[in-house]
Structures are given as structure tokens and as C-alpha cells.
């Protein structure tokens, strides 16, 4: 179980005692709030964003209660912990055997990958039954959106089921060959088909003798990097491409996306707030979210170059991610909002 220990100590270490264990929970779960998305960048853990959607509060609480008891971490304020010397030592030892799988990308791909995966699972199941002339089966999902999508997908299809199956098989084989056999194994064994029901991640974990956290991350790494490969090489994966189409604005929360529309039309911040009957603070949250997600977005409209430099300087000299400490270091007229914007940008590099 050393991977579990490695992962959760690593996260405490990354958050430097400045965020609570619920910050970690939201990160792994992939809460689409500005705060969580920002934190993931600020503390350089964005690759773990939404990497464990199934984790529960209770699970996180139990894990950290145990680590506190074992003296691996010290509470510095409510629900916030830093690693003790023993904890740091333990993390270093874990690092000899464990590391995060490569290929995890985080919020830019986690949401998209999730939809890709649901659609793929259903289409493969359906296809596998069709190959055996079975029209009815108990679908692997009961999410209406996914079921509707699959229905349309089969209707739009320009070739027959055999052709589709052959293409899917070929493309998946090429795609998964980019990853380790272990990752491909975890990916494929979850798929259901004719007279063959897929396994849960937990069942696979026990079959390959890894803990479920490591298995989950290996799967996410495989899935997210595969989706990226498809997007970057559309012509090589013409069929798998179809599973990604029509998923848009996956990277912004819905509300931030609306705000972005107004910004593009040239509305100033307070006008957007007025129009949308939201507080200025909420709109600021949206702008920070946009700044993090869209590299093309110009933050200089909100932070003059001079101030930007001052904030940048304060951040690097303090080597902290806590807003208040940065705020104390810079001129009074510089707002928290401006500091957050700079952090959002600086975090990326």
C-alpha cells in the first residue's frame, strides 16, 4: 500500500499547509470551481485534477486521521496539515518506489476524457453485441445523454458494423501501443461486450496486485494521454475522433463561459456583473478561471504591466502561494484579484 501513502503525503507536501485536506479532496474529485482549478495550478498539481472522481470525503478523512496518528503530519490550523520530519522522511522513502504515472494532464483533458470513455464503453459494448446479431443487452451506462449520443452515432455512421468494429480495433490497438502493457491492460479489461462483462477498476487492481489508487491513476494517465494523442493526430484516428466531437467548452465552468462571452464582446467587469446580476467578486473568479485556461486571454487589461512586475517579484521572493502574504508585500492599491490573476499566469510556467 505504499503508493497510497506516497500519493497522499505528496499532496500534503505540495499544498504546504496552506490548503485543507478538503482542498485535496476537491482536487482529486475535480470540483469545477475557480478556487479548485486555481489551486491546482498554484501548487503545481494540475495533473491530478479530477483524477479520482470516485473518492469520498470519508475516505480522505480516514486516510489523514491515520497519518496524523502515526505522526506523519502536524496540524497547523483546522484541517490543514504540514508534513512532520518523519512524514518527510517517509515521503522520500516512498519516492524510491513510487511516482505519478506520466501522461496525466489534468483539467484540460480530464472532463473530455470522461465523456470519451463513457461513449467508447457503450459503443464497444453495443458493437460487440451487434457482431453477434444481438440487438438487446443491458447497457453499461444508464445516463440518457450517453445513450442518446450512441443512438445518433450509429445512425450517422456511413459504414457497417463490421467495418466500424475493425476500425475501432485497429485504432485502439495503435493508440494503446503508445502506453505500457499494464496501462493498456487496465484500459481494455474494463470494457464489456457480448457475453463478457468488463471488470471494475478495483477488481483489476486486485488482479494486477496494485492498490486501487495507483490503478486509478494509471488508467487516467492512459486515458487522458490517449485522448490528447487522438486530438493531436486526428488523421491517424479518424474513428476514435468521432467520440470526442461535440464536446465543447469542457474546460470552463458554464458560468465562467458566459462571462467570457461578454468579455469578448468588450464589456467591462462591472457591466458584466450588472448584466448577469452577479457580484463583482464572482465575475473576478470567472476571469481568473479564464486566465488559467486560455493562454490567449490577455490579463494586462486588468493588471497594468508595472503592477504585474511588482506582484511577480513579490511572489518569487516569498516563494509562497498565500495571497495575504503577497498582498502585504505590494502597494496598497493592488487588489487580491490582480494578485490572483498574476498567480494564475505564473503558475503555468
Amino acid at each position: 500500500m505504499s503508493f497510497k501513502r506516497y500519493l497522499f503525503l505528496y499532496l500534503v507536501d505540495k499544498f504546504k499547509g496552506e490548503r485543507s485536506i478538503y482542498g485535496i479532496y476537491h482536487l482529486l474529485k475535480g470540483k469545477r470551481s475557480s478556487q479548485t482549478i486555481q489551486d491546482s495550478v498554484l501548487y503545481s498539481v494540475q495533473e491530478l485534477f479530477q483524477s479520482m472522481e470516485n473518492i469520498t470525503r470519508n475516505e480522505i478523512e480516514t486516510v489523514y486521521e491515520e497519518y496524523e496518528k502515526q505522526g506523519l503530519m502536524i496540524k497547523n490550523r483546522k484541517d490543514c496539515y504540514t508534513l512532520s520530519e518523519k512524514g518527510k522522511q517517509c515521503l522520500r522513502e516512498c519516492e524510491d518506489d513510487c511516482r505519478l504515472p506520466n501522461g496525466l494532464i489534468g483539467f484540460q483533458y480530464a472532463g473530455l476524457s470522461k465523456i470519451f470513455w463513457k461513449r467508447l464503453r457503450l459503443v464497444i459494448q453495443s458493437l460487440s453485441h451487434l457482431l453477434h446479431y444481438q440487438k438487446s443487452y443491458l447497457p453499461v451506462t444508464n445516463e440518457r445523454e450517453i445513450l442518446e449520443w450512441a443512438k445518433k452515432f450509429f445512425k450517422r455512421l456511413e459504414y457497417d458494423r463490421f467495418e466500424l468494429a475493425a476500425r475501432c480495433q485497429k485504432e485502439l490497438e495503435v493508440l494503446l501501443s503508445n502506453r505500457s502493457d499494464l496501462e493498456a491492460f487496465i484500459f481494455v479489461k474494463q470494457l464489456s461486450g457480448y457475453q463478457k462483462v468488463g471488470l471494475t477498476l478495483e477488481q483489476i487492481a486486485s488482479a494486477v496486485h496494485l492498490d486501487k489508487y495507483e490503478t486509478t491513476l494509471l488508467f487516467q494517465a492512459c486515458l487522458q494521454s490517449s485522448v490528447k494523442t487522438i486530438i493531436d493526430n486526428r488523421s491517424k484516428f479518424p474513428t476514435l475522433c468521432l467520440f470526442i466531437d461535440q464536446v465543447d467548452n469542457i474546460r470552463l465552468t458554464h458560468s465562467a463561459n458566459t462571462t467570457y462571452h461578454y468579455i469578448k464582446k468588450g464589456y467591462p467587469l462591472h457591466k458584466i456583473a450588472e448584466r448577469r446580476r452577479l457580484s463583482a467578486g464572482t465575475i473576478e473568479d470567472h476571469i481568473v478561471e479564464i486566465a488559467m485556461n486560455d493562454p490567449a486571454f490577455n490579463v494586462m487589461n486588468y493588471v497594468p504591466t508595472e503592477d504585474y512586475k511588482k506582484i511577480q517579484h513579490a511572489i518569487s521572493s516569498l516563494s509562497t502561494k498565500r495571497l495575504r502574504e503577497v498582498k502585504e508585500r505590494v502597494d496598497d492599491q493592488i487588489s487580491y484579484f490582480q494578485i490572483r490573476l498574476v498567480m494564475a499566469r505564473e503558475g503555468e510556467t
Binding site: 470516485n54 469520498t56 464497444i124 458493437l127 460487440s128 457482431l131 453477434h132 446479431y133 438487446s136 443487452y137 443491458l138 447497457p139 453499461v140 451506462t141 444508464n142 440518457r144 463490421f162 468494429a165 475493425a166 475501432c168 480495433q169 485502439l172 490497438e173 494503446l176 502493457d181 493498456a184 491492460f185 484500459f187 481494455v188 479489461k189 470494457l191 464489456s192 461486450g193 457480448y194 457475453q195 463478457k196 462483462v197 468488463g198 471488470l199 471494475t200 477498476l201 478495483e202 477488481q203 483489476i204 486486485s206 488482479a207 494486477v208
Partner: protein, 499 residues
Amino acid sequence: MLEKILKDRFGYSQFREGQREVIEDVLNKKDVFAMLPTGSGKSLCYLLPGYMMRGLVVIVSPLLSLMEDQCQQIHMLGEKRAASLNSFLNAKEKAIILERLRQLKFLFISPEMLQTDRVIHKLSKCQISLFVVDEAHCISQWGHEFRPDYLKLADVRESLGNPACLALTATANAKVRHDILTQLRITGASQHIYSIDRENIALHVYKLNHIDRKITETIETVSNIKGPGIIYFYSREWAERLSRMIENQTNLRVAYYHGGLQMEDRLLIQHQFLNNQLDIICCTNAFGMGINKPNVRFVIHFHYPREINSYIQEIGRAGRDGLPSIAVAFYCDEDRVLPQALIESEYPDQETLPRILQRMMSRYPLTETDTLSLFMEEGCSETAARFLQYQLSQINIKAYAIEELGAYIERKIQSRKKQKLQELDDMESWLKTKGCRREALLKFYGERKTKTMAQCCDYCGSSINEFKKAKETDPKAPLTSNSWRETLRQLLGEKAGIR
């Protein structure tokens, strides 16, 4: 005529006991109350008439999962004109279903959804051929507290123009039957009561001195008797724990199932079990309803349920193919603590109640939803909140002083708790039966045992050894044995199907 439809639509060559009689009465537009044993094909009693009458069959169904399963099973029969309407749909999805009501043949609906004016309005414009209340014992078992909308079904039926009513259940004693008929206002219904007895299921109960003994006995039993089987537990933790132990100590393929699992994992585990990829499911009572697996050979109760009704339902998942099966219950004295605590926690305690009422009155009047959330903010369970909300809606609150109101509600709570504890007592007294277990079980439903059978119960000489596996089978090849490329080829490859 009936046989032809039975054959053409459903692929059966003959009716099972009771089906024809119920169907004939339904076709004669009578109100019908039918109690047919678990696994006897109750749904056929409304599906078949649905094809012989004009209009829509409305089926009130207690659980979302059950509703989805039933709907899916109809789809699998090739009938696409079936839909389910429940609060888990979003507004747009609901609207779509409501707009195409006229094109539907079967509509599954939750009692809560039947409380919205829009739904009633839309339904009242359709011709409704039959109003079905499925698992009708839920009216009595749940209606009085957390599903009070069940108690309003008679009004709903009236506002739909009083279509003929069919109430179906597998487990209802005389008292519950009376309650159902009264609540639905169909006291003149034609009644078809069949025995709850499942003769192909042997009943075994064993008392053990210690929980550790129970664990070892359970593991030993499942290693020896013929599967597949289901083991029931009170809690998620226990289900997971035993599942792990069985996995480590035997070569059986086992998984756990409970309400804490993600929906996708739940479906996978269910499908694995149906597809004979698993030998054993360790589960809470979240598993079972609507699951139609004919060859379940045993049901073990590691923990016993809180009512005899649930017990009958749960063991009834065994032997649906009619072949010999066994139900085993293990118990020890300390088992009582948990169900008792569960019953207590369903209702607000004496300290919280006045405070809650005070707060509610200060914000009077409140909508139903607001009242519910207020109660839940105050720490009530959803069950307790629904119970309170319903009790308060039954009286003119304004006419009471707050103390009177408190006392009134407290009395309601006490009497309900008493009833629940009584049901628990019944369950426990049955476990302690000194005599034929089947006879004792039937007695709760006012029935007598009429036949002698070889495998009746442990008291009558049935032995677990009769249910032994034929011989030690080789461990089955796990699904993880072949490589990912092979698996992919099996799913989609050239060998699949014949062109």
C-alpha cells in the same frame, strides 16, 4: 387467445400459477389485488393485458433502480413504447416523456412524480387502461413514514378518472393486505392470494455464539454449497469485509455491492453476476430488487433483515428456475443492536423535536420541499424528515399550541417505532422458532403448511449437505488471464460473429 399473445410476445408456452386468473379479471376491468410468490412473473399480469386494451398502462413503482430495470427488461422484449418518469430526470427529459405519453404503452412512475399537477394534467388527457401499483406492500411498509405520497395514490387515481386498479405484491400478511386495500380505496377488489411459500427453497437457521464463528461458518458454507449465491449484510463495511475474506480464503469469484458504489460499478457487478462471471455477491439490501437471475442457488443472511417481509423478498431471489435452493440465516445475540439503532435514528429524538417545530412555526407557511430541508438541516435523516413533514400536513397546525403539536408528533413517532420494533421482534422470534421453520413463517401470513417436502427446513431434517457442490471444481479461469490485445480482438475482432 391469451396463450397466443403469451407465446408471441413473451415466448412462454404456458401461464404460471395465478397469472391467468389475475389477467382475466384485469381484462374484465375489475379492481384486482394479487399476491403471487416472489419470482412468479408478476409483471406479466399487467404487460399482457396492456396489449389487449386500448390506452396507457401506468405502473407506480417504488424504487428508481427497479423502475429502470423493469423498463429495460421490457425494451429487451422488443417493446420500445415503455418509459420511466422519475425525479432523476432533468426538466427537458421529463418534458419529452410527457409530450409523447400518447405514443406510450407502459409508463413507470414514482409516487412522488404523481404529485405534480403538470403530470396529472397530462395523464388525465390520456386514456389510461390500467393503474398498477407494483410492490404494493411498500404502501404499508414505507407509506406511513418516508413515502407518504404512497398514501395519496387513491386520490391520484380518482383524478385520473378512476381507471381499473391492479395492486401487486409478493409479501403481505392479512394486516398489510387490509392496509393496502384501504389506502387504495379498493376494498371491493377481486383478490387473488397465493401462498408466499417457495417450496423449492429449504430454510435453514443457525445460532452461533460469537461473530467470529459466524464468519468462519459463512466462509465454510459458501465453499461447500453449490452457487451462485447472495449473502446479505446490514452494512457496507461488513459486505466489503466478508467479500475480501472470501476472496482471500477460497477460489470463489466474489464481489461486493452496496449503495456506496458508483453507478457504473454497480451495473458492472450486476451484469457480471447475471452473466455467471461471479459465484457470490456480498451485499446490502440495495441489491436484489428487479434482478432477475433464475439460477441463484443460495441466499445467506449474515445479518437478518428488519422485517419478515424483507426476509421473504430476499430469500425469494433464490431458485427462480424452480430447482432446489437453500436459504441460510446465521445469527448471534449481539445482532440486535444495529437494527434497533437504525430504527431509532429514523426519527427525531425528544430534545430535537420541539426545537424543530419552533423553527418551522416561526417561518410558517412553508412549502413541502422547504419543510423537508429545514428538518434535514436540523439533523433529521431523510426518512425522519419525510415522516414529520407528512404527519404535519395531515393536521391544521395553526390550531395547535406548539407544546400540543410536539406531544402529538411525539405520540405518532412512538407508535410507529413500536410497530417497527414489533416487526423486528417478529423477525427475531421466527429465527428462534423451535419447530418447523416453514410452518412458523407461513403462520405470519395466516397460512398453513399443507405438504411435506424432502428439503423443508433444518428442523424437519433438511441437511446443508444436500446442497453440496457435486465435486470440487477447478478454479475458473479469471477474466484477467489473457492479454489486452487478445481481449480487444475478442470484443471486436474477426472471430466475433459470422458475417
